[in-house]
Symmetry: C2
Amino acid sequence: MKKDKITVADIAKKAGVSPATVSRVLRHRELVKSETIQQVENAMSALGCLLEKGTIAAATEQPLIILNVPELDNVFYLKVIDGALVSAKAHGYRLLINDSPLDRSSIYSFINLLKQVHAAGVILLNHVSKEQLDMIHSVVPLVQCSEYNEHADYPYVSIDDYSAATSAAEYIVSCNCNKIAMINGPMSFKYAVKRQEGFLDTLRKKDISVRPDWIVSLPEVNYQMAYSAVCRLLNNEIRPNAFFVISDVFAAAVIRAAKRFDLRIPEDIIVVGFDNLDISIMTCPTITTVNQPSFQLGYSACELLLDSINHPDMFPKSLILDTELIIRESSAKI
Amino acid sequence: MKKDKITVADIAKKAGVSPATVSRVLRHRELVKSETIQQVENAMSALGCLLEKGTIAAATEQPLIILNVPELDNVFYLKVIDGALVSAKAHGYRLLINDSPLDRSSIYSFINLLKQVHAAGVILLNHVSKEQLDMIHSVVPLVQCSEYNEHADYPYVSIDDYSAATSAAEYIVSCNCNKIAMINGPMSFKYAVKRQEGFLDTLRKKDISVRPDWIVSLPEVNYQMAYSAVCRLLNNEIRPNAFFVISDVFAAAVIRAAKRFDLRIPEDIIVVGFDNLDISIMTCPTITTVNQPSFQLGYSACELLLDSINHPDMFPKSLILDTELIIRESSAKI
C-alpha cells in the first residue's frame, strides 16, 4: 500500500478509534488524551505513515457522512439537512447529500458509493426495507431520520405521525366540519400510512363517514399535482368542507383551488397542513399546520449517528420528537 | 497497490479514456467500440486488475461529480440541482451535493475532498475567486453555474443579470412608479452586483433619483430578514411605491409587510421578484417575476462539465440562457 493512499479511516480502524479521533490527533492534539495519541501514532507507523508534513496533509481527510434523500424537491428536507450539516460540521465531519430511491435497483450502487468514498456513516431520509437496511449496516453505521422501518432494529429520529394526525383531525372536527378530505403522499412512506390511520381512526370514533374518493394519495409532494387533485374534488355538487393535507405545499394548492371555485377560506372550506414550512405564512390566508421540528430532526439524527460511529458497541436510543398544531387563518378567524 | 483499491478513475487514466467509458465497458460493453474495450482491458491488466467477478464489482464504481452550493436554504438552487442530477444520471455519473463557502478558510478542505473521493469534476454554484478556481482546476475539470468569475477563464452557464434587471426596472417605470426600492442579496455575488447596476443605470436614464437607503443588501435570501427590512422602509412618511427584489422569497415578504401597513398591492405598491419560484403563484397577489431557467442552468452546466471531462483538450463554450419577465397580479390588475 502506498503511503499517500492511507486514509483517516484506515488509521482509525488500525488504532481501534473513530475517524473523528484520528482527525483530532492530527489537527487538535491538545484535545486528545495522551494514550489515545499514542494509539493513533502507533497505528500510523504500523501502516507506514510517518508524521512528515506531506503525509499529514494526505491523511487529514475529513471523515464523510452521506445523507440520502428520496427527492430533493420537497423543501421540508432542506431544514432537516441544515440541522444535520450543523451537527456534522461541529464534530469535524463533512456531510455530502445523495439523492437515491434506495430500492432494489439502486441499492448496490449506493453500497458501492459508501465503499468508494470510505463513508463513516449514513443518514437515511427514505423509507428503506429491512433487507436493504441490513446491507447498508453491514458497511457503515446508519441512522434513519423522519422515515424509519418498524420491522428493523436500527436507530431513528422521527415524530409520532399517528398522534400528530389524530390531533389535526380532532381539531378539524371541533371546527364543525364533517365533510373532510385528505390529500396524502405516496403510501410507500411510513408517514403517509400512519397519518392516514390517525385521520381515519379519529373520524371513525366521531362517527363521521369518509368517502373513499376523498382520500387521495399523490406520488410526490408537488404543488401542481395537488392543485389538479383538489380542483377535481371541488368540481362536484357534493364537496368537502375541510381538507387535511400532509404538506403545506398541498395546503397552498387547496387555497388556490378554493379561489378558483369562489369558495372562501375558512368560511366555506378549512384547510390544515403539515410541516410548518415558510410558505405557510406567505399564503393568504396563512396556513394552520402541524409543526415538525425539522432542524432538530436532522441535528439529532446526526448526533445519534456520531454516537454510533464513536461507540460501536453501544446501541443508540431512538428518539421521537414533539409536534404541535399551529392555528392560523386557514381554519379560524383570528 | 492492492487489486481492490483500483478505481474506475485509475483505469480511465491508464487507458486514456473517460471514467464514463470505463463504466460502459464494465457494464454495457455492447455500447462501446471494440478498440476501446481492448484499450480499457489492457489498462486493467496493466494495473493487475483481472476481469474476475469480485474485481469487476470493485471496479464498477460510478464516477463522481461534486456540486457545491453556497447555502442550501435558498430554494432556487433545488431546481438547478435537479437539472444537474438528471444530466449526471443520464451519463452514468453520480452527483453528490456539498455545502461550502469555498473561501480562503474552506478551500483546502474542499480540495482534499475532491482528492479523497476521486471526483471526476465539479459544478460550482458559488462565486469563487480566481485564485481558488485555479486551485480547484488543478485537481479536476470545473464548470461554474449561475454565478461565475469574469476575471477567470473557466466555463460557465448563467443568465445576463444586468439585462434581466434592466427589463424589470423599465417595466416598473412603465407602471408609473417613481419611488422605487431594491432589496438585494449579498454583494459578494455577481448576480447582486449586476442586477443592481442594471437597476440603477435604468433609473438614471429615466431621470429617476434613487434614495441610497432604499437600496438594501441582505446577507442571505431569508424571508424574515426581508420582512423586517421592508417594514422599516414602509414605516416612514415617504415610502416606496415599488419594490424590485432579487428573489420571490423577498417579494412574498413585501406582500406581507404591505398588508401590515394596510397598503394594497398593486394599487399602492407594486413588487417585481426574481426566479419564478413555486411560491410566486402561491401568494396573494401572485408575484410578477423574472423567470430563470433554473432546471436548464443545472442541466447545461453538467453537460458542459461532461464535455470537459470527456474532451480535456477542448475548451467548452460558456452559455448564457434567456430570462423573461412574467407579469402577474403584484404589478398589474390582470
